[in-house]
Each structure stands twice: as structure tokens, then as C-alpha cells.
């Protein structure tokens, strides 16, 4: 397996290196002089993605015109938006695919219009991207979040024998998976448990629920699992913090994880390090999460986009590097335990 | 089984509805080439018997023979295919479609799988010419007046060329002229050997058109006699099971001061009434006569305020009133009994209680909260004083017969204690016994000093109970006369004045 390209700088990747800065200063430049960048977001109100989007907008301020599109969680809608952006003649396309399965169709469309494209966050098959020499990917290494979760789990399990409530030496856990066919969700589900096992934790899955990244759905499922399994649940693993939060809220309502001295605890881990999750971790109601660096990803995307819009090579003048696919830039995850 | 003397035999038909035994060994035997009148009070089971024949209902027991062959229809399609056609008491039409689409519904003529509009048009025209109906077959049926729609319904039934034609109150909204016309058609069909079952509450018609009469009471067969042996009184006696000497109660009311003045009333959305002026006195019964589409209904609706007027005034007790909608009208002391009971009268799924009190809620409410006791009391009053035949006050009104439904709605309006009652065809589809009761009620109301306007297509009825009669012609008022100065012929002349 390939290691993530941890040496790529993220948060401090200087956007000022981008070629757009060589152009006239933003304030007296007519809008038309700035490069136009078409951005397709898979779903505007996704928590994590909207951090990326906001950071992207901040980065583009005065340097480029962003045309943002909301795919509304529907690939057909996104295809339509790409048609439109092509027709508008944007200089670069940034695509956060709804359904990576449609990547070939999307790449073909864009290739026919000869517009450079950077996919991000939701990762299409590298073979597909390679059919177009102007396609790149910026994202994470999907499995890493799961690996880090697994490490957090193993560490906690080893540190506190009381977590094995029934003392059978096995960690009985419940799992919340994001979407059914999202590669990040699948990898996190798989690698969190695999890593914990590799580190010597025996595991048993009591339940798995696909909760579409959604707090409310996770809350409901957790509530019924709690009454079904009671104290037998020893760990909650969630593909993201939204669902982790739902689980925590259900636990609190059932008298667990109140953060008070002596209260019963079922550890919950998530991914994303949203502010809400960090607050819960600080209050002792949640155990850990994995930081996904949204602004870092936005800066990387933007730097590459400005380069190619200015006719330069994608990585020109940046510290980013491709991983062994030769076309993907990886932003690393970090553990967050408070 | 039986010889072919009869075209149709219905033997020992039984039909039970929740709470009602609608048919209890009912009988009907129809000879070819005759008109067979089916008589009975409201709720006697006439329509139910015919619906069993037509496959709308399925009888619980009994046998049906057509030309000696035992039949059983599960749906109207089978009845139609076996030579039975029917004009239903309720107008069953698709108002948003045109006339031809309605007439050929269920049997569109086709040409290589495509509906043949031209044949439809030509055939419709033919039928209409035969029946002297002068409307464009391509018109939306919803734009016709009720009586025109009824004529179309009859035309449709006739066009099936059925052996057996059932007419369930076909003339309830027809004018004299149209009735005459219908009778000509019926006679033609009879001569061709058809059997016609004719249901009506209009006694004159029955004796004029029918060869035999079957009378039903409470779902049971009472008797079948040749019409020649019968008189109105005899029929009535069979129907109600007792003597009923007079068709109209004695007129005891005395018109007094003018309470309502209508001045130069013209409706906003034309074609409708134009420049109508008339007066209504306290204790007076004012009839409104006219041909189909002469805008009698619109006159009442405009006075009541559910239709708007652009010019003119409505003056009650010398003060102009502005009935902006039915609430104002009710507050100002008006009541309107509508013409189409099912569409605009009853709340079918609701109880008799609900239907009785709904126009009068303000009387039972304190700060919006209702007083159940008062409501129950008033409901009982409606049932008692209107003589409503019902198992209980909780019964859904739609399971009552038409006449009993009508009584509940009249009761509803009386509860609001109105000063001016606008009654649009108050006795449509109501049997003689109940009619008498309603006439009596109208006269009682007049005796109490109320003003009553009655729209009716039955001229004998208008002549029988009204003090004066206003005749509408094509949206205008053709004249108002004292009843003693009028007869059917004079009314007809006035009715044609602006045509």
C-alpha cells in the first residue's frame, strides 16, 4: 500500500505563489481579466465540504472569479452543471463528484472541451483520470482516516481495561457508515477496525448502520441499539463527526457520557474534527476524531487551479507533490484527541 | 322459467345497506312496448332497485330476468351490453369534457384504433336533432345549465337504442316544453317496442305518460296497476298508505309590508341577470318562473351575495345591504337553499347533526367553543319538525334518500332564523308526502312574516303556493304578476319575452 504524501505542506501552502498574483492587482482589474474557475460541489451544505468551499472563496477573493455550483447530491444535476460551465467557457474546472462512477462520462465531456480539471475530495479511479492529460486529483488518502481512528481506538482500549465492560477481552462495537457507495466511507469502515485488530484489539461488530452522514439518523439508531444491547456496547465508531454527534447525543440522553464524574462512558470516535465535535471532546463527551484539513485542501486546489489557468504546469512553484499515481496530491489527516 | 310476456322481471329483490333495508322483496315486471311508472316516497327504494338492475349495486337476493333469461350484472358495462340504458337521478357527467365525449363515453366509435371524432359529432348531431336539443356537441358540458345537462343525459340514454330504458327522475329540472318533447320521444320508443321504466314525483306526468304503475313503500312492493285504473289520489294513497286529500295546503299567509327591494340588479360576470328589479313583502311567497337558463339561479345567488353584482342595490327594510358573501347574507337574515343538493348542499360524509348545525355555528359558540347540548337539541328539532327518516342523528347524511337529505338542509336554514328565504327548486326529487310538508313549511314561514322566494320548474307548484310570480326571461325580468292573474300559458309567454 502507498503511504500518504505527508511531506506536502498543507495549511501553509502559500497561495501567493500562485501566478494570479503576477496579474494586475485585484482592485483595479476588471472582472474579465481574472481567470474564471468553475466549481462543482457535490452537496453545498455538507459540513466538511462547506469548510473547503468557504476557504476556496476566501483564497479566490480578488484573484479569480469562482462560479460555484451545488450538485445537490445528484450526479445528473452535476452533469448538467458541467455542461453549462463548459458552455460558459471557464478556464479551469474544479469538480467534487457526487458519484465517482460517472467520472468517465464527466472526464469525456471536459476533455472534449479541452478544459483543465481538478477533481477533489471524492476520488475517481486513477485509470479514468489518466484518460485525460489535464485531469488531476486533490484529496486525502481515504484509508488513512480509518487507520488513524483504529490507532486511537487501540490506544484507548489498551490504556483503560474498564472499557471492556463485560470483561470478555473483545471490543463489542457499533459502526455508523456514511453513504453506502462512498469510497471514503467504505475505507473508513474497513480500516478503522482492521487497524485496531492489527494493533491487537479483538473486535466484534454488534451493529452497522448506514446513516448518510446524518446526525438525526444516527441518533435514532443509537437510541434503539442502546435499549437492545445496553451496556454490551463498548465502542462507537462513526465515519464522520455528524453521525458521531448523533450517537453522543443519544448516549447522553440515556445517561452515558454526561461528562460528569463517575458517569458511564461509551467511547465515540468520528472523523472531520468539526467544531462541535471538538467541543464535545473537550467536555469529555466524545473521545476522538480525525482532523481533515479543509482549508489546506482548498489552498492546494486553488494553487493548482491558478497555475493551470495561467498556462503553467499544475505544480509549478508550489511544494505539493504527486503521489505514486503521478496525478494526485494528498492532504494528510491528523489525529485529534482534545 | 317464464314466458316472454315480460321484457324484464325483477323478483324478490333484496338489498341491505348498513342500517337500512333498502329493498325488501321488491318486484317489478315490465312489458315490451310500455311505459312503466315506478312510484314511491323518498327512500322507498326506487333508485336502489334500478341500480341493482343496472349493475351499480349488486342485490343481496332475488332474481332478474330479461326476456325470460336469467341475468346478473356485476357492472353497468354488462347492463349496457344487454340492452339496458339508464338516466340516473344524479347527473353523472364529466364537466370538464365536451358533450360528445360524454355521450360516447364507454363506446367511442373507432376507426383503425383511433377514436373517430367525425362520427361522434355526426351521430351526436343526429340524436340532438331528433330530440330538438340545440347545443353545439363540442361545447364543454359544464357550461350548460342543469336542465340542458339533463337533456343531454336523456339523449345519451336514448342513443344506446336499448330494449329497456330507465329514466330516474329525468324531468326534475326540465321545463314544460322540454318535458313535452321528452314525452314525444318516449312515445316513439314505446312504439318501437322498448320498455321504459319511468320514475318521477310529478303526478301529472305519471298519468299522462305511463301504461302501468308500480308503487313501492319502504323497499317493498305495494302493487302494480294499469294507469287507466288509477288517479293521483289513488297513487298517493298507495305510496303513503293513507289518504292525502289535497296536494297543496290552504294558503293562510297574508303579505304585508315590503321587506326586500331589489333595484336594477346586474351581475358582474355576464351572461347573467341584467337590470332586475322586484319587491318581496313580509309574509309573501314570491315564485320565480322561467325557461332553462333564464338565470333564476343567478338571481338568487346574486341576492344572497355568492355571485357579485356590478350595478343595482339590495335593500332590506329600507336600508341597503351589502351581502359580500354568505356570512354577511346569513347575518342580514337571508337563507339560500341551493339547486344541486349533492354538489352544494350536503356534507355527504358527515352526520345529520353536522349537516343541521353547520350554518348556525355562531349560535352555539362562546369564544369559538361549541355548546354540544344546544347543538343536539337543535338537531333533534330538525329531525322532528322536518320529519326526517333516519336511524339516528349520527347517521351520515349521504345514506339518506334524496328527499330526506333535502329536509335536513331546509332544517339547517330554518335554524338560522332567516327573514328572507331563497329556495331554489326546494321540492326537486321530493315525494308528494314530503312535498306537502314542505309547502306547509313555506306557508308557515310566510305566516310568521318571513319573505320567501321560490324558484321552481313545476308550474303547478308555483301556481299552488305563491302569492305572486316573477318570470325571468334570458336574464331579464319579464314581469311580476299576482298568481290569480296567471296560468301556465301566460307564464310561458312571459318566459319567451326576451328570447
Amino acid at each position: 500500500a502507498s503511504e500518504p504524501a505527508t511531506d506536502a505542506p498543507s495549511t501553509d501552502a502559500p497561495a501567493s505563489d500562485a501566478p494570479a498574483d503576477d496579474a494586475a492587482p485585484a482592485d483595479d482589474a476588471a472582472e474579465g481579466d481574472l481567470p474564471t474557475i468553475g466549481v462543482c460541489i457535490y452537496k453545498y451544505d455538507d459540513t466538511y465540504i462547506s469548510t473547503v468551499r468557504q476557504a476556496l472563496e476566501a483564497a479566490a477573493e480578488g484573484k479569480a472569479n469562482l462560479i460555484l455550483n451545488d450538485g445537490k447530491g445528484d450526479q445528473a444535476t452535476q452533469n448538467d452543471q458541467i455542461d453549462l460551465l463548459i458552455e460558459k467557457g471557464v478556464d479551469v474546472l474544479l469538480v467534487n463528484m457526487v458519484d465517482i462512477g460517472a467520472a468517465q462520462t464527466v472526464v469525456d465531456k471536459i476533455k472534449a472541451a479541452d478544459i483543465p480539471v481538478i477533481f477533489f475530495n471524492r476520488e475517481p479511479d486513477a485509470e479514468v483520470l489518466k484518460t485525460y492529460d489535464k485531469a488531476r486529483f486533490v484529496g486525502t488518502n481515504a484509508k488513512d482516516a480509518g487507520v488513524i481512528q483504529g490507532e486511537i481506538i487501540a490506544e484507548m482500549w489498551a490504556a483503560d481495561p474498564a472499557l471492556d465492560k463485560n470483561g470478555d477481552g473483545t471490543m463489542q462495537y457499533v459502526m455508523f457508515q456514511g453513504e453506502p457507495n462512498n469510497p471514503e466511507a467504505i475505507a473508513r469502515t474497513e480500516w478503522s477496525v482492521k487497524t485496531a485488530e492489527e494493533k491487537g484489539v479483538k473486535t466484534e461488530q454488534l451493529e452497522l448502520q448506514i446513516a448518510n452522514w446524518d446526525t438525526e439518523l444516527a441518533y435514532q439508531a443509537m437510541e434503539s441499539w442502546l435499549s437492545k444491547h445496553g451496556d454490551s456496547i463498548e465502542f462507537v465508531i462513526a465515519n464522520n463527526d455528524g453521525m458521531a454527534q448523533g450517537a453522543v447525543n443519544a448516549l447522553i440522553a440515556a445517561g452515558y457520557n454526561t461528562g460528569e464524574e463517575g458517569a458511564k462512558v461509551v467511547p465515540v470516535v468520528g472523523v472531520d474534527a468539526t467544531d462541535a465535535a471538538k467541543e464535545l471532546i473537550g467536555a469529555g463527551k466524545m473521545s476522538g476524531t480525525v482532523l481533515q484539513d479543509g482549508p489546506g485542501m482548498a489552498n492546494a486546489i486553488f494553487a493548482l487551479a491558478m497555475n493551470v489557468a495561467g498556462g503553467k504546469d499544475y505544480l509549478d512553484g508550489t511544494d505539493y507533490q504527486y503521489d505514486d499515481t503521478g496525478i494526485a496530491v494528498r492532504i494528510p489527516y491528523q489525529a485529534y484527541k482534545g | 322459467m317464464s314466458d316472454n310476456k315480460y321484457l324484464l322481471e325483477m323478483i324478490d329483490i333484496c338489498k341491505q345497506f348498513p342500517g337500512v333495508k333498502a329493498l325488501d322483496n321488491a318486484q317489478l315486471k315490465l312489458r315490451p312496448g310500455t311505459v312503466h311508472a315506478l312510484m314511491g316516497e323518498n327512500g322507498a327504494g326506487k333508485s336502489t332497485l334500478m341500480k341493482c338492475l343496472f349493475g351499480v349495486y349488486i342485490e343481496d337476493g332475488g332474481e332478474i330476468f330479461i326476456e325470460g333469461k336469467k341475468v346478473h350484472f356485476d357492472n353497468p358495462r354488462q347492463a349496457l351490453d344487454n340492452g339496458v340504458a339508464m338516466v340516473h337521478q344524479e347527473l353523472n357527467q364529466v364537466l370538464k369534457r365536451d358533450i360528445m365525449d360524454n355521450i360516447w363515453l364507454g363506446r367511442y366509435p373507432k376507426n383503425m384504433g383511433i377514436v373517430d371524432q367525425k362520427t361522434m359529432f355526426d351521430e351526436t348531431k343526429k340524436v340532438f336533432d331528433e330530440l330538438d336539443i340545440d347545443v353545439n356537441p363540442k361545447m364543454k358540458i359544464g357550461r350548460l345549465s342543469v336542465s340542458q345537462r339533463q337533456m343531454v343525459e336523456i339523449a345519451k340514454a336514448v342513443s344506446y337504442n336499448a330494449k329497456i330504458l330507465v329514466l330516474d327522475e329525468p324531468t326534475s329540472s326540465l321545463t314544460q316544453e322540454e318535458v313535452e318533447h321528452l314525452f314525444k320521444i318516449i312515445n316513439k320508443l314505446r312504439d318501437k317496442g322498448c320498455g321504459i321504466i319511468y320514475i318521477s314525483h310529478k303526478m301529472e306526468e305519471i298519468l299522462q305518460i305511463s301504461d302501468e304503475v308500480t308503487v313501492m313503500r319502504d323497499g317493498k312492493w305495494v302493487g302494480t296497476k294499469p294507469a287507466s285504473e288509477l288517479t293521483t289520489d289513488k297513487i298517493i294513497q298507495m305510496m303513503v298508505g293513507r289518504d292525502l286529500t289535497n296536494r297543496f295546503p290552504p294558503k293562510t299567509n297574508k303579505p304585508g309590508e315590503v321587506i326586500l327591494e331589489v333595484k336594477n340588479l346586474t351581475a358582474t360576470y355576464q351572461p347573467s341577470i341584467q337590470d332586475v328589479s322586484l319587491e318581496l313583502k313580509a309574509g309573501e311567497i314570491l315564485g320565480v318562473a322561467g325557461l332553462v337558463g333564464s338565470r333564476r339561479t343567478e338571481l338568487l345567488e346574486t341576492i344572497f351575495g355568492i355571485a357579485h353584482h356590478s350595478q343595482g342595490e339590495i335593500i332590506l327594510h329600507g336600508k341597503p345591504v351589502n351581502n359580500k358573501d354568505s356570512r354577511y347574507a346569513i347575518k342580514n337574515g337571508f337563507a339560500l337553499l341551493t339547486e344541486e343538493r349533492r354538489a352544494t348542499g350536503i356534507f355527504g360524509g358527515m352526520s345529520i347533526k353536522f349537516n343541521s348545525i353547520i350554518a348556525n355555528l355562531n349560535h352555539y359558540a362562546k369564544a369559538g367553543v361549541l355548546n354540544d347540548k344546544k347543538m343536539d337539541g337543535d338537531t333533534q328539532w330538525v329531525i322532528d319538525s322536518m320529519n326526517v327518516k333516519t336511524p339516528s342523528a349520527k347517521t351520515q347524511i349521504k345514506s339518506l334518500s334524496g328527499g330526506n337529505q333535502q329536509k335536513v338542509i331546509i332544517g339547517r336554514w330554518l335554524l338560522t332564523d332567516p327573514e328572507v328565504l331563497l329556495l331554489d327548486e326546494p321540492t326537486r326529487g321530493i315525494d308528494v308526502g314530503a312535498k306537502y310538508e314542505i309547502y306547509q313549511l313555506i306557508i308557515d314561514l310566510a305566516n310568521k312574516g318571513k319573505g320567501v322566494m321560490v324558484v321552481s320548474s313545476e308550474m303547478p307548484e308555483l301556481l299552488g303556493i305563491c302569492d305572486r310570480i316573477a318570470v325571468m326571461s334570458n336574464g331579464r325580468l319579464a314581469g311580476v304578476e299576482n298568481t290569480e292573474n296567471l296560468d301556465q300559458e301566460k307564464i310561458m309567454k312571459l318566459a319567451a319575452k326576451y328570447i
Binding site: 462547506s50 441518533y219 | 369559538g368
Partner: protein, 339 residues
């Protein structure tokens, strides 16, 4: 003869209580599969989960009685949940939406939520009563509008669309607290639902408004002639529905512990299903409050019970679909006119 009457009576009885029978059967099946289900805790869980949905359904029910429907219910709940949540974040939470907002009395955000719900309700009512739009259309419009408003409200720089969470303790307690009766914990939420249900029962059965509602739903034209102020009454019923959505939104955010622009999505489908399963008819003029409640509980029971016995998530959809179809198929038998 006696026997057939008996049979018929039993048939009628079965029909009249079909909903209870369906619910009972489902409970029995769940208990057979997993006897651990038989705890009071599971019942209070289901009831408290049904609470906000029940309130929503009670709001929608009146609109169905009026021959309408409401596609916006869920999104209105969403926007009111978001706003109440944003006004009740813990003052110690650094990245809260309004950093300078003091701790408000609970009633303030509740009233704000109710007012927002009411405004949406009035817009819907206006569309139906004044613009003569079918409820499906105006509420489809307000569904989109409410969602847009939620997103714009929640999605602010620099972080974008974050869930609004970390609530003031008083709020959480008010919503998720419970009273102990002997050994039984009864969640406040159940009481809130009960109070709303009683109020709604009273309105439906004992007031002019209720009668008018059934009149308009049963036969609008007859109502118009009978002196019912159609516009006003429709507006009030929609207003009430909006108020209930606001209340449900206020409670839902507290119950779930956070609010996002996704809160409330598709709740209206559950609410409408609950009404229809509970015997409120789309043809208007028919429905009861206990029916709506039992419908809500049946639906919630499907979700909870299937999860409890560990039915595969995908299969759950299919089973839920089948049970809804079954329950309503039985219920409509009551109204099918005998031939």
C-alpha cells in the same frame, strides 16, 4: 342467521380496530423474534421518538382534512430547529453562532421558532385560500424556500455549513429530561405530545374552527354557501400547522442535540403517512386525533422495532413500504362503498 350477524359484527369490529390490530401484531412479531423487547424503556423510547413527529403529524392532519397536504412541514421544522438551536448554544462554547448573545430564557427561542413556523404556515394558507393553489404546489414552493433560508442562515464564513450544536443545559434538560414515576422514567417529550394532542383534539371537536375545517374539507362549495368563512378558516388551520411545526422544530433540535440544514428532511412524508395510516383521508373531511397518534406510533414502531430485531437496513425500507400499504389497505375497507 345469528351466526352470519356475528360474523359480520366481528368483521366490522376487526375493521374498526384494524390499526390497533396491526400494531399489536407487529409488537407480537418483534417480541417473538427478540423477547428482550418487552421493557418499559422501549415503549417510552418509541413514544418519545414519536413525540416531535407526532406534533408534526398533528399539524399536517388538519391540512389533509382540508383536502390538502404539506410538503414543507419537514423543512419548516428544519428552519425553526436551526434558529432555536442558534439562540440556545451554550454560552461557554467558543464557536457558537452568536458569540455575544447572553443566555436567553427558553421561552424566547421557542416563541421565535413558533413565529417563524406561523409565518410559513400563513404563506401556505395564503397560497391555498387566496391564490387558489393546490396545497401540493404552494408547499412545494415553501419547502424550497424554507430550505434555502435554512442554508443561508446556517452557512456563514469562515466555516460554512456547520451543524449548530452544544446547547445550553437548560434547553437540553427541558427537552430530554424525564419524570420518575416509581421505577419508570417518563420523558417530558411524551407529555409535550400529550398536551398538544389534547389541545388539538379540543380544537377539532369542540370549536367552531374544527367544525368549519371539516365542512370545508368535506364539501367546500356547501361550506361557502353555509356562511363558513373559507379563507379565514383555511388560513387559521395552516397557521396552526405552522405553529406546531415551529414547536416541533424547537423540540427536535434539543432532542437530537444539534441542527443542520438537513434537519427535518423528508419528515413530511412520515407525517403524512402517519396521518393516512391513522385514517385521515385524502379526499377530505375525515380524520381523528387518536387516529393520527396511533398512525405516528405505528410508523415509529416500524423504524424502532425493525432496528431492534436487527433487520437489514435495506430490507427495512421494503418492509416499511409493505406495512404502510397493508395498514392503509385495511383501513380504507371501512370506507369502500358496498356494491
Amino acid at each position: 342467521m345469528d351466526k352470519t350477524i356475528d360474523k359480520k359484527n366481528i368483521g366490522e369490529w376487526l375493521l374498526n380496530y384494524s390499526l390497533y390490530i396491526v400494531l399489536g401484531l407487529m409488537i407480537v412479531v418483534v417480541i417473538i423474534v427478540d423477547p428482550r423487547f418487552l421493557t418499559l424503556k422501549n415503549i417510552t423510547n418509541i413514544l418519545s421518538q414519536a413525540s416531535t413527529r407526532g406534533i408534526l403529524a398533528l399539524g399536517v392532519a388538519g391540512l389533509i382534512v382540508l383536502q390538502g397536504t404539506d410538503l414543507s412541514a419537514g423543512r419548516i421544522l428544519g428552519v425553526t430547529a436551526i434558529v432555536s438551536a442558534s439562540l440556545l448554544q451554550s454560552t461557554t462554547y467558543a464557536s457558537r453562532m452568536y458569540p455575544d448573545l447572553p443566555a436567553l430564557p427558553l421561552i424566547v427561542p421557542m416563541v421565535v421558532a413558533v413565529i417563524i413556523g406561523a409565518v410559513f404556515g400563513l404563506i401556505n394558507g395564503f397560497g391555498v385560500a387566496k391564490l387558489h393553489l393546490h396545497a401540493f404546489i404552494i408547499t412545494l414552493g415553501t419547502q424550497l424556500i424554507a430550505y434555502g433560508v435554512s442554508c443561508i442562515y446556517i452557512d456563514r464564513p469562515p466555516l460554512g455549513a456547520q451543524p449548530i450544536a452544544n446547547f445550553d443545559e437548560r434547553y437540553t434538560k427541558f427537552v430530554t429530561g424525564s419524570i420518575k414515576f416509581g421505577s419508570v422514567q417518563i420523558p417530558y417529550l411524551i407529555f409535550y405530545l400529550a398536551i398538544v394532542a389534547v389541545v388539538m383534539w379540543f380544537i377539532w371537536n369542540k370549536t367552531t374552527l374544527g367544525k368549519n375545517m371539516f365542512a370545508i374539507g368535506g364539501n367546500p362549495e356547501a361550506a361557502a354557501v353555509s356562511g363558513v368563512n373559507i379563507v379565514k378558516n383555511i388560513m387559521i388551520i395552516f397557521l396552526i400547522s405552522g405553529i406546531l411545526y415551529g414547536l416541533a422544530g424547537f423540540l427536535e433540535a434539543g432532542r437530537v442535540g444539534s441542527a443542520t440544514s438537513n434537519t427535518g428532511i423528508n419528515y413530511e412524508l412520515d407525517a403524512i403517512s402517519a396521518c393516512v395510516v391513522g385514517g385521515v383521508s385524502f379526499s377530505g373531511g375525515v380524520g381523528t386525533i387518536p387516529g393520527v397518534l396511533i398512525g405516528t406510533v405505528i410508523l415509529q414502531f416500524i423504524n424502532y422495532g425493525l432496528n431492534f430485531i436487527g433487520v437489514n437496513a435495506y430490507l427495512q425500507y421494503i418492509i416499511k413500504g409493505l406495512i404502510i400499504i397493508l395498514a392503509v389497505s385495511i383501513d380504507v375497507r371501512k370506507y369502500i362503498a358496498k356494491k
